[in-house]
Amino acid sequence: MVLGSICLALGATLAAGGLWLILLGGSWYYGIAGVALALTGVLLLQQRTLAVWLYLATWTGTIAWAFWEVGADWWAHVPRLVAPTLILLLILSCIPALRRNS
């Protein structure tokens, strides 16, 4: 599963940077979302359907956080929502494959 590796890499990057930001006194979102995305990647590599549920929860949390932080400023949502939603669609497209393997 290429997607699993991608999620793991992106998640690890976000988690590392997110930890740095937390240490600098900034937002906790990136660290948390990074860990969740990395875990999603691990679960995808293990071909477990739980990956979908975990990422769905992450994505839902992301939406809630984004609106809490910047309201309905659509340009401000570009970095917050576009890529996570793209990943969601990719993961959802993996459901048939995951089902075959579970």
Partner: protein
């Protein structure tokens, strides 16, 4: 020449004390000697009217950029069609590649459009057909390009003594990149022999060592009482020992120096410095466009900062007094009448970039002053007293670099400011969570205490607004009939860091007089600031180093209508679409208003239209002044970073803008002068 030097020497020997004390000593006027100024200045001369013509850079003599024309209306503007395109043929070659930012605005007088190209080729074309009447190339070399190859405009002068058909009865005058005043006959393009040396005055005179590119004129000289007044761009950030920011007035007929205003030695150098000396080096310069009140005989010069922008402890008292001030000079004598300082002890490169506008405000002849900080002030034209409330910001952060130099308090306009609230971490941006996160980390790592955070070397600091404004050289337009100011503005931070000298030496940062090749890098991106303990690195617009995307959320620029009576915002909107922007420099083609950086101002017409290009989406648009709604727009073949004009010829109204691009704004370079008009009935 010799006679004037003799006078200056006399003054020097009679004035007491060392040069530094010149401030307080009033040298005696040389009795019985007529200075050049007295010999040449006359009473007020008739002013040309805006309407069919566009006779001044700012439209009318008051620089309102307001046209009484009304044939093009909100109802029919959508029918505009191309009238003609003229190509100047001036495109960058060799080392000029990546250094073009022409910013050109033509004048329209009679049947002619008069302009200069990026490299100062003077051109006259027919206002209805675009056919070339004449061109004159003064042969400016590429090495003269300072920060960019720029010629914002020319000045038109009617010789009141000349007869019809005399050579140079009407003349076109420009200041050039290689620091000359050039005057040619407006009818033929032939240099005016009586002006200086065969139509040329050398502005390098009395400035010290001639270093091409360090001292360059990019704005049209300001005409007042037959005197051409000019400052120059002194390339920022090179060294404290830089060419002087002296402002000089020259007789428009003879090119003779009428007076000089050297802010550090105004009396001593009034008629040029003494033999063997030069105008005071490193002083604040005036690179933008002045405006004049012909009746009063005053010329209003928006001053920039000293030669080294981001470190001030070595500046003189005179520099601190005048830097970043609007200065009113009496053009008949060259003496300062008043000055109004918009920022004290400027360490942010907050040069005054806009041309000021003369208005009547609640019955008082006034001058409207926009600033890069976004503050808009209205001052009494005769005295400089503010007519609108000015507040003081107190308890400002001092930083650790030069806490004794950083001012305790700073003026802000309580009447109107274009400045937005300070940045927060959540304002960081990108195209994905990862680059946004990187910007958030940068935000947290920087020193930032809001507006006017002082410079730092241990960590970067955030400067917001950045040096692009607020209001920059495009200035504002004022609809004097409706009482509306139209101000386009930038809304962009800079991410800066001082570099200790030792480190700067290791990096090999050298000033312009010690290097052969410069690459047209953004201003401040590794400037040596020689003479001070720090070089400076500016990340203009605070771009993400990997993606090139801005670190802060849009909009990056907007346009606003302000009630001239009350200072209240009537409408405010982003200016510029996202069609040319995207990550890694890939155009997104999104036709959505995002609000891009913009350079270049607006024109307002009596019919209620605002014409503006300026944004980095390369569109030229008409906006309804009542609602702020875009009614018409057209794609330009290159960046429209220039002030448009409107004029009438053969009974038809035209709108015009030059599409020539801008290296710093990263828009495509071109050489087009484009006009639109309504179809014939």
């Amino acid at each position: 020449m010799f006679r004037r030097n003799l006078i200056a020497v006399t003054i020097l020997t009679t004035a007491a004390g060392p040069l530094a004390a010149q401030q307080d000593t009033q040298p005696p006027e040389p009795a019985g000697e007529e200075t050049a100024a007295q010999a040449t200045t006359s009473g007020p001369q008739p002013q040309m009217q805006v309407g069919a013509d566009w006779p001044y850079y700012g439209g009318d003599a008051n620089a309102t950029r307001f046209s009484p024309l009304d044939k093009i209306t909100p109802e029919n503007v959508a029918n505009l069609e191309p009238a003609f395109t003229y190509e100047t043929g001036d495109m960058p070659e060799g080392q000029a590649e990546g250094m073009y930012s022409p910013e050109t605005t033509p004048l329209k007088i009679g049947n002619d459009l008069l302009m200069c190209s990026a490299m100062n080729v003077l051109i006259s074309i027919d206002a209805t057909s675009g056919e070339e009447n004449w061109r004159f190339d003064p042969g400016v070399p590429n090495e003269a390009i300072p920060y960019g190859a720029t010629c914002r405009g020319v000045t038109y002068y009617i010789d009141p003594e000349a007869g019809e058909g005399d050579a140079c009865a009407t003349r076109v005058i420009q200041g050039t990149l290689d620091a000359k005043l050039v005057a040619v006959d407006a009818a033929t393009g032939t240099p005016c022999e009586d002006f200086g040396e065969n139509g040329t005055v050398d502005l390098w005179k009395d400035l010290g060592e001639r270093v091409p590119g360090w001292y360059a004129v990019t704005a049209p000289p300001t005409l007042v009482r037959g005197i051409l007044v000019t400052g120059a761009q002194v390339l920022d950030g090179q060294a404290e020992d830089a060419p002087s920011g002296v402002i000089r007035g020259y007789d428009a007929i003879s090119g003779e120096l009428a007076w000089a205003w050297d802010l550090a030695a105004p009396d001593q150098n009034r008629n040029g410095p003494p033999e063997g000396e030069v105008y005071t080096r490193g002083t604040p310069n005036m690179w933008t466009t002045g405006v004049a009140d012909e009746e009063l005989g005053y010329v209003y010069m928006p001053m920039g900062n000293s030669a080294v922008d981001y470190y001030g402890s070595n500046r003189t008292q005179a520099e601190n007094e005048y830097a970043t001030s609007l200065v009113a000079l009496d053009a008949t004598t060259g003496e300062e009448v008043w000055h109004f300082q918009t920022i004290r002890n400027d360490v942010w490169d907050y040069d005054l970039g806009s041309q000021s506008t003369l208005i009547e405000w609640q019955g008082t002849p006034a001058i409207l002053l926009p600033t890069k900080q976004g503050d808009i002030y209205i001052l009494d034209r005769a005295t400089g007293e503010p007519l609108t409330p000015v507040d003081e910001l107190t308890d400002l952060p001092k930083g650790e670099i030069e806490p004794d130099y950083i001012a305790d308090s700073q003026p802000v306009s309580a009447w109107h400011t274009l400045r937005k609230d300070p940045l927060e971490e959540k304002d960081m941006w990108g195209f994905s969570p990862i680059d946004q996160l990187w910007c958030r980390i940068q935000y947290r790592r920087a020193n930032y205490d809001g507006y006017l955070t002082p410079p730092s070397a241990d960590r970067p600091w955030i400067q917001y607004p950045g040096y692009n404004g607020g209001s920059d050289w495009g200035s504002v337009a004022v609809d004097t009939e409706r009482g509306i100011i139209v101000a386009n503005y930038n809304d962009i931070p800079n991410y800066n860091q001082l570099i200790p000298r030792e480190q700067a030496d290791e990096m090999g940062l050298l000033p312009i007089n010690e290097v052969d090749q410069r690459a047209g890098a953004p201003e401040g991106a590794g400037d040596p600031q020689l003479g001070s303990p720090y070089a400076i690195n500016v990340n203009a617009g605070w771009r993400n180093d990997v993606t090139g995307m801005p670190c802060t959320r849009p909009p990056y620029g907007g346009i606003r209508a302000i009630d001239l009576e009350t200072g209240e915002t009537l409408w405010d909107r982003p200016l510029g679409t996202a069609r040319r922007n995207g990550p890694f420099g890939i155009p997104s083609m999104l036709p959505l208003d995002i609000g891009t950086p913009n350079n270049g101002g607006a024109v307002v017409t009596a019919s209620g239209l605002v014409f503006i290009a300026a944004a980095t989406d390369n569109l030229f648009s008409a906006i309804d002044i009542e609602t702020g709604e875009t009614l018409w727009s057209v794609k330009l073949p290159a960046g429209g970073q220039a002030n448009p004009i409107t004029y009438e010829a053969n009974g038809r109204q035209y709108v015009m803008v030059t599409a020539m691009g801008h290296h710093f704004m990263e828009t495509p370079v071109g050489d087009e002068v484009m006009a639109w008009t309504l179809p014939e009935d």
